[in-house]
Symmetry: D2
Subunit: 152 residues, 4 copies
């Protein structure tokens, strides 16, 4: 990350292992199966991450409703990023459970998804994710469990 001429005291924007928003966006963009959704990292906070699913005609179910699997993918990705932000880029985790309740349809609009870690254990990372509008209307609610991958 450090450029070739960085002086010894050059600023280290983040402590080692705490990835930036840009690094997380690059992670999403690097996964071929995620790219079609076009998720954008919106914000990062301690143990929490918000991404945005832009509206596209290809996401629509009849009636202009954003399809359910797209919201579940958003929940999965938002939690993944919240965990990467917490663990650091060099460590990873796999989804173990993802429970979804659909509450209201999102109709022809961008959807935000905010994931928040509630418990970070050695064997399990658990949190909630919510798909919502910019004004806070709730579209879906998720609980997500990830299992850390042991360092090789």
């Amino acid at each position: 990350m450090k450029g070739p001429y960085a002086s010894p005291g050059a600023r280290r924007v983040k402590p080692a292992g705490k990835p930036s928003k840009r690094a997380l966006q690059a992670l999403l963009d690097g996964e071929r199966f995620i790219r079609p959704w076009g998720f954008q990292v919106e914000s990062l906070r301690n143990g929490s991450c918000t991404i945005r699913l832009p509206f596209r005609r290809t996401l629509e179910r009849p009636g202009g409703i954003v399809n359910g699997p797209a919201l579940m993918a958003a929940a999965d990705c938002a939690m993944w990023l919240a965990i990467k932000a917490h663990l650091g880029m060099e460590r990873d985790a796999l989804t173990s459970e993802l429970n979804t309740t659909f509450l209201s349809p999102a109709i022809r609009e961008a959807v935000l998804c905010t994931a928040r870690i509630l418990k970070h254990g050695r064997r399990r990372i658990y949190g909630v994710a919510e798909c919502h509008s910019r004004t806070g209307k709730l579209y879906s609610h998720h609980t997500v469990t990830y299992v850390p991958i042991e360092a090789a």
Copy 2:
């Protein structure tokens, strides 16, 4: 099904409202957001439906693992078809809850998903779906709740 004196043009392949495998495949193919997964209807039984997710490089996570959202989409679609087969094409239902547990990774291979209705109520249709290999190895287990849409 055909009576003994049925005239040549009288074939009724299915009783009204019980869609054929071909009709369900057309339903899947007609939904733009489902098409990228390329699901194929494999078999239909009373209250149960199996679809196939062909393996594609674009489904891979690192390690060749079929991505989780694809399995959740398969569970959602397989249950949708099981319900359409049960209710008839003219009636529809929306996903209300979908709980997923990932059990083993599917690695560079086609995945079958079998959904089965356990309870068909007036206000709720509940069932389980399993993603599995042709030989019965279990990749993920899902419970799915759909809510029938009232006839307009």
Copy 3:
């Protein structure tokens, strides 16, 4: 509730149908199957309710851990009261789904359970419940769906 000689301006502690903490406690105490847990109503807020499960030796699993079914019963009851507080005493609802994740053991101590309604629809009431200590340590996390019973 108003006595026979109440003057015109007599205080009406609650608007009709918004039950008091005492009324909700009486509701709990009136249900024979709930009584053994000894739940106490702690606080009520808009769409939210906290109850307390006092520690008793009869709740212990080996190791002094408060047993899991007691936490699930707490989640179910706390959400029920949050809904009664919202709908009014004369209307009722039945549990339809209850998902639980156990996060940390509660060991020989009282447990608080706070339920909060996230979505109140005509056909479904959805919320989360958390069992926690007085200092905020999380023991279990639950999502709960209730279905309103139609007025007869």
Copy 4:
């Protein structure tokens, strides 16, 4: 299982570590918090266990409905016994997740609960449990995850 020279009185009903129905019943009866439900072990099969919740007036909700926490406790216990039968008495596991969907009320009647292990991993044991009548009517459906406790 009996060796060739086993004397008549030497029967070893079960291989070491595979507990009998009687041993599992004693386990249930030994847990103070479980005793009030009066669960009876009905049958054991490979990876599966059925218990019975006898009807008692103290289980009733208004309308004679068997209360939901009792069905969740049954699911938790039936899966616990299925796991003990599989792992052997000397090893144990703790409930990590328990998802419940209530499907039909059980009204003033005994309830059977059958749990079945679907996946037995090193870090997680996953299965389904169903509360049902003797004739197969389904009252509730559960998915249950247990985590094995490492040998000390």
